[in-house]
């Protein structure tokens, strides 16, 4: 497996710090966002191992790639027309050369294949991470064009942010309520598809508290580029504070709210209606019934049936502002001109 030690060793090999700094330089020049964007600036063990593997492959391939880049111009010059180098128009084969040009790539590919095999198994997203702490279970549902994070053990759900304690691994189960999506937090690790009626799994962890950019990476329509979120690794106490707060101040998950949320819209559109327009890029739901995720996986009707009927927004003022979802809206989720 690609152990931590190994990956650090590899990274030294390719001057990890220099590149990291360079990257930071660019990020800073361009007005550093506080979100970590890339696995080259890894914030967790998976991403770190991936970076190690990445540089390892780059470095090893250089053995066969660099000669091409260096020797080609040299050959062109050395054997230029009008030059004086030896000319052998009928020389077309050499056993020695044959060994070299087959042997080198074969060797490199053999080594790469070995590493590939071990790394693929070690970094299999289904593989739980070893840790002395219980992982935090979060269930992720993709909608057009936002994500919902359900915390089954806490009975809450949030959209717009993925909060988790930095000292516990994350065990994610993913599905999509709509078309295929790809859940992706580069600074933490792998992306994986989320698909309707199916459940994929992903295990991630952060090394320390911090915020990381997350997104959908699989095109799903016109607000695709807005389907982003912030992943936040919190200090343990901060996480329990967050859960408390969500339970208290979150809007209760009702059928009506759920339907509004599930309709095609961006997060801020949904937030305006459901969350009283707090405009903090976050909707938190309390009173999320057990088994909501499983119901969503099994079919939209089941999910709806599970949820209690109730008001859409907190105050009657907003209720009137809510457009009536037409009957059958869920069967044709994309109205031709969905909310601008």
């Amino acid at each position: 497996m690609m152990s931590r030690r190994q990956s650090i060793w590899i990274s030294h090999l390719v001057q990890r710090y220099q590149f990291g700094l360079l990257l930071c330089l660019f990020v800073t020049l361009a007005g550093c966002s506080e979100h970590h964007l890339s696995f080259l600036d890894p914030q967790g063990p998976i991403a770190a191992a991936q970076r190690g593997h990445y540089w390892f492959v780059v470095a090893l391939s250089m053995v066969v790639v660099l000669p091409v880049i260096v020797l080609t111009p040299w050959l062109v010059w050395r054997y230029r027309y009008g030059g004086t180098a030896i000319y052998r128009p009928h020389w077309t084969f050499s056993k020695k050369m044959e060994w070299l040009i087959w042997g080198m790539p074969v060797l490199i590919v053999a080594v790469l294949s070995y590493v590939l095999w071990t790394a693929t198994h070690a970094l299999d997203p289904y593989q739980p991470l070893s840790s002395d702490k219980e992982p935090l279970r979060v269930q992720v549902v993709g909608y057009d064009w936002k994500w919902l994070f359900i915390y089954p053990e806490q009975g809450i759900a949030i959209a717009g942010k993925l909060m988790f304690p930095a000292d516990r691994p994350l065990a994610l189960e993913l599905t999509s309520n709509t078309v295929m999506q790809s859940f992706f937090i580069p600074a933490l690790g792998s992306q994986i598809y989320a698909m309707n009626n199916m459940v994929t799994k992903l295990h991630l962890a952060a090394g320390a508290p911090g915020t990381f950019r997350g997104q959908n990476a699989q095109y799903n329509g016109k607000h695709f580029h807005e389907q982003r979120f912030t992943a936040e690794a919190l200090e343990p106490y901060a996480f329990s504070d967050f859960v408390e707060a969500a339970r208290k101040t979150g809007v209760p998950m009702t059928r009506q709210r759920y339907e509004i949320f599930a309709d095609p819209s961006t997060l801020s559109e949904a937030e305006r209606i459901i969350d009283n327009g707090t405009n903090d890029g976050l909707i938190s739901f309390s009173q999320v019934p057990e088994g909501l995720f499983e119901a969503i996986v099994d079919g939209p009707l089941l999910a709806r049936a599970l949820l209690p009927s109730g008001p859409v927004a907190m105050t009657p003022r907003n209720v009137s502002a809510v457009p009536k979802a037409p009957a059958g809206a869920s069967i044709v989720p994309f109205k031709k001109e969905a909310a601008q």
Binding site: P105, A119, F334
Partner: protein
């Protein structure tokens, strides 16, 4: 009345007009976008009208019909394929430049609407692959391969014309989608369920399905035609192992077409069944699932990318050998490598969906299979380098492309190897890193290959060389433009920027997208240079003329005929005794011999079936897109009638008399006798009439 209109027009209505939305809701944003699209649409319409007007003005309809459209001559069909590619290319490039322009101002907004951006990457990808790259390479193989194996035409000339017809119909369908909008926003891969009716209800995806289907059918027929020709029509003595490498790549490409296209046919057909007849293959509500689509699409998609690259490899093999004044190094190795690449390409398709959730072992197996392709590819690269080794390298325009190719392609290959590692792919899949990878293969690989081949064989096809100055400008700006336009995308991908993003919020991306935008402008200049090159060359065609037909001191048979070659290619089918037959003839002073006797030559006669089927298949698919069922049925019956009618025709050939052949050939031989042989030093000079000095005179030294 309205019922009648509904029948007549199907679901076509005012909304389909590109400026309709702008008129309904004239916001600035809508006006900008409406204007862009309307401008494009008017260019299509006006361009079409102008073309018709010009042809009428010059009274060329008859010539067009009898010399071109109904012609089944492989050379003319080849040229027409390339013309289609060129027209489509113009559109796809403009879209590419728009995308790059949008992203270089895309921090938090930009000028393009998300829908239009979606249509842009979808049409750009679809056109580049199916209506630029495929017709281009099909055209080149069409023209060159029969000449290289010493044949007079393909095995099935009429089917060849039908292939062209279907591709052309598909291309027209894509063009029409600019005027009667919209096109799909599902990308060139068209993944459901996004492309299913609930999520993409309009005509867009249907345009995509039918355009791609036409292209697929065309390529399947092309593949069959090429493969049979190579197996059955080689000149006597031309064993497989004596074929030029370009023919080997043509053969493997043909085989990939034959076996690689069916999965796409199935995928799009099932998607069409879902959309039209309410089947449930890829919607999850009633027991379908989209994973099988993804699987089928890439079972096509991966062989497809090797369809695109292999002919380019073939071109480069010819070019490296010719311009190094040296026989190709490691012919057998290259053949084996080509075959291995083709075979392996069927075993790796899963690498396009490592992130779907399957077992780690499956990912690893396919990942390793993918990396294996690096071995034969590397061998080819080294073989080309060893061809230059101890040669006499002439840095002509094709050679500049070849050098650019070899150095850039290895970088693309390296990033391919990176992507082949599932655990890394989890990070760069669906990002611009991937986009950079495949443009890195497609532009320096397939496109440079075709451009190099275009510069290399143009004198063969038209009888005069291309202008050098604009040619070099184009080649160098291609290389620089490519680097500027696509290397930043690697960085952006590593920074986690997803592909197909119209706008972004990370300031960190901006410097890179701006550089990429500048690169796109350089590429645009390269395109401009290409057009100038062509224009200047046409004007000076007399000065650049190479009627003798061997401007580069070539190795293979196509250089042994006049430029342009006669319709029947060879007055007498040559007898082949070695690899590089023309080289051997020249070396032994046997070139340009007078044949002992001439015979009548039987050539396939013109046929209107191709153009008829082009019209019919366009109308049929157009009807399908807009639900005009009467049109579908009507044109379907017409097509059937045409095919059945044709099957009753028995006089399908015409005879060119021995006298005529003799007259043409002898007058060319006289020209050869009068022409001045040149050494390679004068190759790029106007004294080059296409006759190479014999090696005894130190032609290459």
């Amino acid at each position: 009345m309205s019922y009648f209109l509904d029948m007549l027009l199907g679901r076509l209505d005012w909304d389909a007009l590109p400026f309709w939305k702008m008129l309904q809701e004239p916001t600035t944003f809508n006006i900008i976008n409406g204007t862009i699209v309307t401008g494009a649409a008017s260019m299509v319409v006006l361009g079409g009208l102008a073309l018709v007007a010009l042809i009428t003005w010059f009274g060329k309809w008859r010539v067009l019909w009898s010399d071109w459209l109904t012609s089944v001559d492989h050379k003319k069909i080849g040229i027409m394929f390339i013309v289609v590619a060129f027209v489509m290319l113009a559109r796809a490039i403009i879209e590419a430049v728009f995308m790059r322009a949008q992203q270089s101002v895309g921090l938090g907004g930009g000028f393009l609407s998300a829908e239009h951006f979606g249509e842009f990457f979808s049409t750009h990808g679809t056109i580049m692959i199916f209506f630029m790259a495929m017709p281009f390479l099909t055209g080149v193989i069409n023209y060159i391969m029969p000449l290289q194996i010493g044949a007079r035409d393909l095995s099935f000339p009429v089917m060849n014309s039908i292939s062209l017809a279907l591709t052309a119909a598909g291309a027209v369908l894509v063009m029409v989608s600019l005027v009667l909008t919209p096109f799909s926003t599902g990308g060139w891969s068209g993944y459901p369920p996004f492309t299913e009716s609930p999520y993409s209800p309009g005509a867009g995806v249907d345009y995509w399905i039918w355009a791609v289907t036409l292209s697929t059918l065309s390529s399947t027929m092309t593949g069959i035609n090429f493969a049979v020709t190579i197996y059955k029509k080689r000149a006597p003595g031309m064993h497989l192992m004596r074929m030029p490498l370009f023919c080997w790549t043509a053969l493997t490409t043909a085989i990939l077409m034959i076996f690689g296209m069916p999965p796409l046919t199935v995928a799009t057909a099932l998607l069409a069944l879902d959309r039209y007849l309410d089947f449930h293959f890829f919607t999850t509500d009633l027991g379908g699932n989209m994973m099988n689509y993804v699987n089928l699409f890439w079972a096509f998609g991966h062989p497809e990318v090797y369809i695109l690259i292999l002919p380019a490899f073939g071109v480069f093999s010819e070019i490296f050998s010719t311009f190094s004044g040296k026989r190709i190094y490691g012919y057998k190795t290259l053949v084996i490598a080509t075959i291995s690449i083709a075979a392996l390409s069927f075993t790796v398709w899963l690498h396009h969906f490592f992130t779907m959730g399957q077992d780690a072992s499956i990912n690893a197996v396919f990942g390793i299979a993918t990396m294996l392709i690096g071995i034969p590819t590397g061998v080819k690269i080294y073989d080309w380098m060893l061809t230059m080794y101890r040669g006499r390298v002439r840095l002509t325009i094709p050679m500049v492309y070849a050098i650019g190719f070899i150095m850039l392609f290895v970088i693309g290959g390296l990033t391919g190897i990176i992507l082949a590692n599932p655990s890394i792919d989890y990070q760069v899949h669906n990002t611009l890193f991937l986009v950079a990878h495949f443009h890195n293969m497609l532009v320096p690989g397939m496109l440079f290959g075709m451009l190099a081949g275009y510069n290399y064989w143009f004198p063969k096809a038209f009888g005069y060389r291309l202008n050098e100055r604009w040619g070099y400008r184009a080649a160098y700006s291609w290389i620089i433009g490519f680097i500027l336009a696509f290397f930043p995308l690697y960085a952006l991908g590593l920074l986690g920027m997803p592909r197909r993003t119209v706008a972004f919020l990370e300031p960190a991306y901006l410097p890179w997208t701006i550089v990429a935008g500048i690169g796109a402008l350089v590429v645009l200049f390269a395109l401009f240079s290409l057009i100038m090159q062509l224009g200047v060359s046409i004007r000076r065609r007399v000065t650049y003329a190479v009627p003798i037909g061997d401007p580069w001191d070539g190795f293979s048979l196509e250089w042994s005929t006049s430029s342009p070659p006669p319709e029947y290619n060879f007055p007498v089918i040559p007898q082949i005794a070695s690899r590089d037959p023309f080289r051997s003839e020249k070396d032994s002073g046997q070139a340009y011999q007078r044949p002992e006797e001439y015979g009548n030559i039987e050539m396939p006669a013109n046929s209107a079936l191709g153009p008829v089927l082009a019209v019919v298949s366009f109308l049929m698919t157009f009807g399908l897109v807009w639900y005009m069922w009467w049109l579908v049925i009507g044109s379907g019956l017409m097509g059937l009638a045409a095919l059945v009618g044709r099957s009753f025709v028995r006089r399908t050939t015409r005879i060119i008399s021995a006298d005529e052949v003799r007259r043409t050939h002898e007058s060319w031989l006289d020209q050869v006798a009068r022409a001045k042989a040149i050494t390679r030093a004068d190759e790029r000079d106007t004294t080059n009439q296409g006759l190479a000095a014999s090696p005894v005179e130190g032609a290459v030294q």
